[in-house]
Each structure stands twice: as structure tokens, then as C-alpha cells.
């Protein structure tokens, strides 16, 4: 089966600082991949390059048949296929939870108000926040805000979901809420690529784990690779992190 996301020898620098140094990997439809690695290893940059929030210097990225590195790319088309959730939620503070979700449905997908509201209610139910539809983001806990951010992305029916350290800013209890939602999504067959520091979650839920180190894919394999690291770098990372 052809991959839904494919990175081939991707290079990216910020000024004179090389962040990605020939990153290659593929994600199959319905697969859940967890990217782990130390801060500065290039995990988040790789994710941002997939959604074209950063331009790559060399190599190629293909998502759902769209060449992301093509200068003439239709960004709207790409972003209808890819949903991304950030560490800092990035909800729109001037809109209610429901309006946050309805905004792009109304203006990008051109849904009627009632259609958009119906979609919003459905995805809010999916993340267990139906009763918070009329609340403003500032009235929610961090975990609830993150679940709304996930619902907002889901509402657009993307083929691939990217999660960039979505639980890093949350305490353990709130982290649990968000991980449960992500686990449900994975069980539902959503193609997911997540950058995470939650090793136990990655091991339990991910189909494959990518360990990035110094801007390269250092190790790639099933969850069990965390029990038997092949490289001293992954061993050291796991020893420091666990």
C-alpha cells in the first residue's frame, strides 16, 4: 500500500543551524507513529515541515499525493488533508468553543450554520466536551482546551492528524484526558503522527516509534524497541527520561 505521508532525505536549517539532516520515513494509512527524541532533535520541525509551516531546504515531502515541497502547492488543499494540534492549544480566545470549531467549517468548507453546528456538536461529543459548547477557552482547563483543539481539527475531517507535544503543558491528570482521546482516534483508524514525551503511551498505542537524534532518524521500529534499544543514544535517552 502506498504511504500517505512520505519524507525523503529532508534537510532543514534555521540560519546556520541545521535541524533536519536527511530525514526519511513513511507513514501508511491508518498507522499511528510516535516520534520521540530529546529537545532540539528536530521532531517538531519535521512535523511543521509536513504541514508546510516551515519550508524545507532539500529533499521531498509528500502527503496524500500532494508534493509539500512544491513552490506552487495549493496550501488549502494540503491543510484540508492534514490536521495539526499544537502544544499551546492555539484556540481563538474571542470565540466560544463551538464557534472555534464552526469557524473553518463555515468559511472554508462552506457549511451552513446548522450543518457546522451539528458537526461541532458531534466532534465535541467525540472528545467528551459537549456541555462546554458555549464556554470561552479561558473558562476551560488546559486538558479541556487541548481536547477542543483536537475536536476543531477533527471537524475538518483530515486524512492525517499531527500532534506536536500536545500534553507537554499539562499535569498528569489532564494528560490522561487528552491521551484517552488520542487513543480512541487511533483505534478508529485515524492516521496519526505524534511528537511526544509520553513513552508509556507511545509504546502502548503507536504502531511504530521513530527515535530522532541530532536531526536524523536514529532508530525506527515497533513499541518493543523501547525495551531493547539498538543504539547507545536511545538507551541514554530512555535512561534519562524514565
Amino acid at each position: 500500500m502506498s504511504p500517505i505521508v512520505k519524507l525523503d532525505q529532508v534537510y532543514k536549517s534555521f540560519g546556520s543551524n541545521p535541524v533536519l539532516k536527511g530525514v526519511s520515513f513513511e507513514v501508511a494509512k491508518g498507522e499511528m507513529i510516535a516520534i520521540i527524541g530529546a529537545s532540539g532533535s528536530g521532531k517538531s520541525t519535521a512535523l511543521r515541515c509536513i504541514d508546510r509551516l516551515e519550508h524545507i531546504d532539500r529533499g521531498s515531502i509528500e502527503v496524500c499525493g500532494i508534493r509539500v515541497d512544491d513552490p506552487a502547492i495549493d496550501l488549502k488543499q494540503l491543510r484540508l488533508e492534514v490536521g495539526i494540534v499544537f502544544q499551546s492549544y492555539n484556540l481563538f480566545p474571542h470565540l466560544t468553543v463551538e464557534e472555534n470549531i464552526m469557524l473553518a467549517l463555515r468559511h472554508v468548507k462552506k457549511q451552513s450554520r446548522s450543518e457546522a453546528r451539528e458537526t461541532a456538536r458531534r466532534v465535541l461529543a467525540q472528545v467528551g466536551l459537549e456541555e462546554k459548547a458555549a464556554a470561552y477557552p479561558e473558562q476551560l482547563s488546559g486538558g479541556q482546551q487541548q481536547r477542543v483543539a483536537i475536536a476543531r481539527s477533527l471537524a475538518m475531517s483530515p486524512k492525517v492528524m499531527l500532534f506536536d507535544e500536545v500534553t507537554s503543558a499539562l499535569d498528569p491528570q489532564l494528560t490522561g484526558e487528552v491521551l484517552r482521546v488520542m487513543e480512541d482516534l487511533a483505534a478508529g483508524g485515524m492516521t496519526m503522527l505524534l511528537v511526544t514525551h509520553e513513552m508509556a503511551f507511545a509504546k502502548r498505542v503507536a504502531d511504530r516509534i521513530i527515535y530522532m537524534h541530532q536531526g536524523k532518524v536514529w532508530e525506527i521500529g515497533p513499541g518493543s524497541m523501547l525495551d531493547d534499544p539498538q543504539t547507545p543514544e536511545l538507551r541514554a535517552f530512555l535512561d534519562n527520561g524514565l
Binding site: K76, F86, N90, L91, H94, A104, H107, R152, S153
Partner: protein, 221 residues
């Protein structure tokens, strides 16, 4: 009826009427200046470098010229080329240009103060730059821009007094006219000053209150 010396109720009524013209000119300058200023702001944050450069040139050029000179250019300058404008129109046009440069710059600052992740979150939902600006950025920046905008409105009201030099009869000019007939400059211009104060002070206080509220909200965020 005589109120003080030769100063009568007729003079007082004349001044009160002139307040109306001061407000008309202020409103004209603010509304037209806001419309043009929004365009200047859009150009200033445009992804096209040449448009940003042009907007910057406009802002710096206009901010470097006194309003009085702009009034002379529009009123006296254009009349040389056959465009003789009524003083209200000339004052309105000159002030629109002046106000647009300042409001465009104030609003650019407010737009640029919006966190970059808000732009990114919107773009990641496949919204265009214009949709992001209109539906996500501007509504949030509007709140931030209210105190400086109201603060500048106070300046606009006071600046309308310059229109007196091209013969537009607003509050200052009305004071001059009355003074020319009864020569009681201390009384008349004190009264004119008091009227300006009465117009501007509530707006200044409102602007300060909004600024304080915004600072508190920002501290809590």
C-alpha cells in the same frame, strides 16, 4: 442678554453652534481617516515587499509634515490648479490623510502584537490570509487598539482648531470672530479652552480606563 462685560448669550450660542462644526470635522476626519488608515495598515502588513515599502514611505512622509502644511497644500495648493474646495472639504481631506498615516501605524502595531500561533492555527485550518485577518486577528487586535485609537481621537478633536487658518468656522475660529468684535480675549479663549476640555476629557478618561482594563486582562492571561 449680557453675561459678562460685552459677552452676550448670542456669543455663547455662536460658540455652542461652533462646537457642532468641530464635532462634524472631527467625525469626518476620524471616519475617513479610519477607512484610509485600514487600507494603510493592510498595505503595511502585506506579504508584498513593495506594498509594505510604499505604505512605510506614506506613513513616514505624512508623519513628517505638520498638519497645518497639509491644510495649506489641500486648500491653497489645489486651488492654484483650479480645484477650489470648500473649507470643510479641504480640512476633512487634509485631516483624513494625516489621520490615516497615524491610525494605519497604530493598527499595524496592534496586528503585529497578535501572537504568531494564532495566525498559524488559522492557516492550519485551511483559512486564507484574508480570512485569518478578518475572522481571527482583527477581532482580537480591535480590543488592543481601542485605547490608542480613542486617545488619538482626542488629538483629532484638538487638531481641528488648525482648520481655523483656512477659514473654517469651528470652535477656535468662532472664538476669534467673537474676540474681534468685543475684544475680551481672556474670557473668550478660556471659554473655548473649557469647551475643548469638556469634549476631550471624557474620551481621555475612557481611553485610560480601557487601557487599565486591558493591562489587568493581560496580566491575568
Amino acid at each position: 442678554m449680557t453675561l459678562y462685560g460685552s459677552f452676550t448669550t448670542t456669543h455663547l450660542l455662536y460658540l455652542v453652534m461652533a462646537i457642532g462644526w468641530t464635532l462634524v470635522l472631527s467625525g469626518l476626519a476620524f471616519v475617513l481617516g479610519s477607512i484610509a488608515g485600514f487600507g494603510v495598515m493592510l498595505a503595511r502588513i502585506s506579504p508584498r515587499p513593495w506594498l509594505r515599502w510604499l505604505a512605510m514611505l506614506y506613513i513616514e512622509g505624512i508623519q513628517g509634515i505638520p498638519l497645518l502644511i497639509l491644510l495649506f497644500i489641500v486648500y491653497f495648493g489645489l486651488s492654484v490648479y483650479g480645484f477650489t474646495l470648500p473649507s470643510l472639504v479641504a480640512a476633512g481631506l487634509a485631516m483624513m490623510v494625516y489621520v490615516s498615516a497615524y491610525l494605519g501605524d497604530i493598527w499595524r502595531g496592534c496586528i503585529e502584537a497578535m501572537p504568531k500561533p494564532q495566525w498559524e492555527a488559522s492557516e492550519c485550518l485551511a483559512m486564507s490570509r484574508w480570512q485569518t485577518l478578518r475572522l481571527v486577528i482583527v477581532p482580537q487586535a480591535l480590543r488592543l487598539s481601542l485605547p490608542p485609537t480613542v486617545g488619538f481621537l482626542v488629538q483629532i478633536i484638538k487638531m481641528t482648531s488648525l482648520a481655523s487658518v483656512i477659514g473654517f468656522v469651528e470652535l477656535t475660529r468662532a472664538g476669534q470672530v467673537i474676540n474681534n468684535t468685543i475684544f475680551q480675549p481672556f474670557l473668550i479663549f478660556s471659554l473655548v479652552g473649557a469647551f475643548y476640555f469638556a469634549l476631550c476629557y471624557p474620551l481621555s478618561r475612557w481611553s485610560e480606563t480601557m487601557e487599565k482594563k486591558l493591562n489587568v486582562a493581560n496580566r491575568q492571561a
